[in-house]
């Protein structure tokens, strides 16, 4: 076997893998939050992310930016970043809430079996991505170069760019903030209570519906941020981008222990880096296969993921 592809590029592959992993981790939070509280795989979360990737493009389009624009100076760049993030967060958050209200809440009212939720999620996912597909003629949309990738420092042959630092930092900050929110705030306590035992929580006066809406909203916010980062890193979006990355994100969530916030971060980073190593070693076509092999192996030894399950129990 030819190891040179991996060994020669080890440093750069690690760095780009971490950046990709950070995006996956932010995306995975949505799966993990909803799962932790509702024990539900929210398949439509991938489309929440997809709408975010288009929302920030739309916002930038209002400034007359398209894929052919020149990279802006620092001042406007900051403005564009804030506007893009706000647009993506609003749209993704709203989309997540809409999915909850249209596809899940009616089912919960009727006490539907768990599988029914999964299927409406699939229906919602199909609906959103197809509507986007028809609206964009299934073409790709290029992203304006808001942040020009520039090397910041170099270790050996490994160059780290400003964009990579931004992505990883933003993911860590959001992660920390979310962790504080869930563990430190009053609302967060409600989330943990519902995650541990929905019925007792309801009896103790926690408004379950509001907690569930909050969880969807939080997942949507994180997906919105991930969407902007994705746009900047990948540079192109398309109607099936959500589905594609969604599989990775879901895998990462399970890998770290679904329902566990820190697990999502760990799983995401691990997955991003590992995919790059596999691509270096075996060729890019094996990238996704490698992530599933890793998943199976880890689940065989740790059946509930690396850090274990449960939003509530993990740090009660």
């Amino acid at each position: 076997m030819d190891f040179s592809g991996l060994i020669d590029n080890f440093g750069p592959l690690t760095v780009t893998g971490l950046a990709q992993g950070a995006i996956i981790a932010l995306f995975a939070l949505g799966y993990t939050l909803v799962y932790g509280v509702l024990r539900l795989i929210n398949f439509a979360h991938s489309e929440v992310f997809l709408l975010g990737t288009y929302a920030c493009l739309f916002a930038w389009g209002l400034f007359g930016l398209d894929q052919n624009s020149a990279a802006p100076a620092v001042g406007p760049m900051l403005l564009y970043m804030v506007v893009g993030l706000v647009a993506a967060i609003i749209v993704s958050g709203a989309a997540a809430l809409t999915v909850e209200f249209v596809a899940y809440r009616p089912l919960r009212r009727r006490n539907a079996p768990p599988l029914a939720f999964l299927i409406t999620a699939i229906g919602a996912s199909l609906f959103i991505s197809e509507v986007v597909g028809v609206a964009t003629h299934r073409n790709q949309t290029g992203v304006p170069p808001i942040i020009q990738a520039r090397p910041v420092f170099t270790i050996g042959d490994t160059t780290v760019t400003n964009l990579q630092i931004l992505i990883v930092l933003l993911a860590l900050v959001m992660m920390f903030a979310l962790d504080r929110f869930i563990n430190g705030s009053r609302l967060g306590r409600g989330v943990r209570a519902v995650a541990q035992n929905p019925d007792s929580a309801a009896l103790m006066g926690v408004n379950k519906s509001r907690v569930i809406a909050l969880v969807f909203l939080l997942g949507g916010l994180m997906a919105g941020i991930a969407a902007v980062m994705y746009d900047l890193k990948i540079g192109v979006t398309r109607y099936d981008a959500g589905f594609l990355l969604g599989i990775d994100a879901f895998t990462a969530a399970v890998l770290g222990g679904i329902g566990n916030l820190r697990g999502a971060l760990l799983g995401g980073l691990l997955l991003g880096v590992l995919q790059n190593y596999a691509a270096g070693l075996f060729g890019s076509q094996w990238l996704h296969a490698a992530s599933f092999v890793l998943l199976v192996v880890i689940l065989l030894f740790r059946p509930t993921g690396l850090l274990g399950e449960s939003l509530g129990r993990a740090r009660a």
């Binding site: 592809g5 592959l13 990709q20 894929q67 192109v236």
Partner: protein
């Protein structure tokens, strides 16, 4: 009681859904043929109009429909009707769609199928129905060796384009370090394999990616290309992936040239990567530049569809015109039209069309041109590649 009510409502809703669908069923399968002035027939497009390959299919369909539109306008009536059959580009869907196509007896010619996979699944059905097909883009070599009499290919197959691309890299680009990658599609891998063999020791490294819509992060490929020291990357695949790869290569600071086959000759590439990054990207195509033909195709296409002509739009336009010319000459049955194709010698905008016994383009007419993306965001004719 409430449950019964809910059930009744559910049932009614579903029946309503189906009945509603049925109500707007646009039925049209009359079998009356014959009419005056060689009119009243249909030409069909068979290919992907929905699904992940739809953008390629739509390019072709629009070129095809434009030709028929112009013909009808010249005639002053809807002489030849357009029939569209959506195979979704999938071999598993194609047979059923093909069978429904052959059931329409007014259809006497087919432009398509665009992909080699669906061709394998659908062409046997067209063959047994005896309806002539001209594919504008299915370039798998083996398709012409199956003994199908109705099979015609309006482009050169993979064997013609690969050597030309390799020759361009060697002679025009004079690259000494080349990285070759492909998307594992039958088209892309076939092309890349030929290029690899022809370039021999110039190839410093290779890689493979997943297909269109199955991969978006190419950072591993980008890293390998950068560290290999290659000054040229040949990518066997379509413009969808190529656009992302070009963008990510530029973002990573790689300054070399991206090259590819006709599957990358589409303004969609620069729409994804941004014109700046795409400038200088070279695509080979076994076709002549449409502007060289002196026609108004490029402008007409833009006027009708409000977007630029894409990959294979011009070939599809020509293919439709080949059929229309045949119909005009009084070949109004599938059999006659198929016989007509054996003798056709038509100069279109992308090529001159004359078919061999097996339905391939006459090798004497195959010209391979290199096209280069310029600041307009589209690939413009560069040079004709000499292969020998």
């Amino acid at each position: 009681m409430r449950q019964v009510l809910a059930r009744a409502i559910g049932g009614v809703a579903i029946i309503g859904l189906i009945a509603g669908a049925a109500a707007c069923n646009s039925g049209s399968s009359s079998d009356d043929t014959a009419s005056e002035g060689n009119c009243g027939y249909k030409l069909a497009f068979f290919g992907a109009l929905t699904g992940s390959a739809a953008n390629l299919g739509v390019n072709i369909e629009q070129g095809f429909e434009l030709a028929i539109d112009q013909y009808n306008k010249a005639k002053g009536s809807t002489c030849i009707e357009v029939a569209k059959f959506d195979s979704q580009g999938e071999a598993s869907v194609a047979p059923g769609v093909a069978r429904s196509l052959v059931a329409d007896k007014k259809i006497i010619g087919i432009v398509g199928p665009p992909f080699s996979g669906e061709s394998e699944a659908a062409d046997p059905i067209f063959e047994s129905a005896g309806i002539p097909t001209i594919t504008p883009s299915a370039t798998r070599v083996s398709l012409s060796s199956k003994g199908w009499k109705v099979f015609h290919r309006a482009v050169a197959n993979d064997d013609a384009q690969g050597p030309a691309a390799a020759a361009y890299i060697k002679d025009n680009l004079k690259a000494t370090k080349v990285f070759v990658a492909d998307d594992q599609s039958a088209y892309g891998a076939g092309l890349a394999d030929v290029v690899k063999t022809k370039l021999g020791s110039l190839v410093v490294a290779t890689d493979k990616t997943e297909g269109d819509g199955k991969q978006a992060d190419f950072s591993a490929l980008v890293q390998k290309v950068s560290s290999s020291g290659a000054t040229a990357l040949f990518y066997g695949g379509y413009y969808t992936n190529a656009g992302i790869i070009r963008k990510q290569l530029t973002a990573a600071g790689w300054k070399g040239t991206l090259l590819g086959g006709d599957g990358m000759k589409d303004p969609g590439l620069s729409k994804a990567s941004g014109v700046q990054a795409a400038v200088g990207t070279v695509v080979t195509c076994p076709c002549s530049p449409p502007e060289a033909a002196g026609g108004t195709f490029v402008n007409d296409y833009k006027a009708k569809w409000n977007q630029d002509a894409g990959t294979y739009s011009d070939v599809a336009f020509d293919a439709a015109n080949v059929f229309l010319q045949g119909i005009d000459a009084g070949n109004t049955t599938p059999q006659k039209l198929n016989d007509y194709l054996k003798t056709v010698n038509y100069k279109g905008i992308a090529n001159t069309y004359k078919f061999t016994e097996t339905g391939e383009l006459d090798p004497n007419f195959i010209k391979v041109w290199a096209f280069k993306f310029d600041s307009s965001g589209d690939a413009k004719a560069d040079v004709e590649i000499k292969t020998s």
